[in-house]
């Protein structure tokens, strides 16, 4: 009977030990770094004639690779139809093994030209940043107007 109880207790203890968080698991060599809060700042700059317009956006993400999104806009009557004018940002931040961060950023902008016509652009990019780094790039919308995106990634301390 004693042997019986000993066997049961032994098995249970072994199972507990294997499942305990501190136990070195076989997959530990590929263990992911702990998720960190990351701030992504995007400044959209576009010119309309002499006027330059800056539209700043700032979002927070987890570096665990979860998809997040931000939408802001207004329904505007264009001709006889209602159109959504504004910004759509979809992003994912993933920490890499070398301490950097991979940012997948999709930005769709719809705005009205000075003549009241809808114009837009879509930009989809993947960036690799170190903490505090930024990058800038220029594109053109479907009406031929230039826009610049200034993207910065910072780890929230």
């Amino acid at each position: 009977m004693r042997k019986h109880i000993g066997l049961i207790l032994g098995s249970a203890l072994m199972a507990l030990a294997f499942a305990a968080p501190g136990f070195t698991q076989a997959v530990s060599s590929t263990a992911k770094p702990k998720a960190l809060p990351v701030k992504v700042q995007v400044v959209l700059m576009r010119g309309e004639g002499e006027r330059k317009i800056n539209s700043p956006y700032s979002v927070i993400a987890s570096s665990a690779g979860e998809a997040s999104s931000l939408r802001i806009g207004t329904e505007v009557l264009v001709g006889t139809t209602l159109q959504q004018i504004g910004t759509q940002i979809d992003y994912t931040v993933t920490a890499t093994d070398d301490g950097r961060f991979k940012l997948m950023l999709s930005l769709k902008g719809q705005f009205l030209s000075p003549e009241g016509l809808p114009r837009g652009f879509t930009s989809t990019n993947t960036f690799t940043f170190r903490d505090g780094e930024s990058t800038k790039f220029t594109g053109s919308d479907d009406g031929g107007g230039a826009f610049t995106l200034d993207v910065t990634l910072t780890v929230v301390k």
Partner: protein, 176 residues
């Protein structure tokens, strides 16, 4: 002999199940408050809207303010059709203490939706069409924040039509 093996296997399975990450642990639920402050515009025109959600970690909390309003649109046949549209504020949040998160921080999955009737004074240049039909502007954020007790995450967005800035400040507070 067979009975003994069954006992051993049973004990091992119970022990494994009790330590599995999905198994509800006794001390995992923490009472907390999520504060969301929505701020629209700047200076004298600033509008500040605070919301508080009381919850416990591991539970989903929702808040709805506003109403559903019937909005009429004229179809190609000239007939007016009504659809119900939601306006106001909707917040859904779920806070979890996750193993994969830096120590002392909680994972806050949150969706904030603010849908308002357009204020003609903020951007008079917008073509409004039928004055009886309200025009809506929307702010929607859906994402995962990692917050410690008392920490705030700020989301900033610019409305490209009115050039107004929207801000959402999300603060997590653990209850003592």
């Amino acid at each position: 002999m067979r009975r003994r093996v069954r006992w051993i296997l049973g004990s091992a399975l119970v022990a494994l199940a009790a330590t599995a990450p999905g198994f509800p642990q006794g001390s995992s639920s923490v009472p907390l408050t999520i504060q969301v402050v929505l701020t629209k515009g700047e200076g004298d025109k600033k509008v500040r809207l605070p919301y508080f959600l009381t919850s416990s970690s591991g539970e989903t909390t929702s808040l709805r303010t506003g109403a559903e309003v019937p909005i009429g649109t004229t179809g190609p046949d000239g007939l007016i059709r009504f659809t119900l549209q939601q306006f106001g504020t909707q917040i859904d949040s779920r806070v979890t203490a996750s193993e994969g998160v830096a120590e002392g921080r909680y994972k806050v999955q949150i969706t904030i939706t603010k849908r308002d009737a357009y204020d003609a004074n903020s951007a008079p240049s917008i073509p409004q069409g039928d004055p009886s039909r309200p025009i809506f502007n929307n702010f929607v954020f859906a994402g995962t924040l990692l917050l410690g007790n008392g920490e705030t995450a700020q989301i900033v967005a610019t409305d490209m039509v009115s050039n107004e800035t929207w801000r959402a400040d999300v603060t997590l507070s653990l209850k003592k």
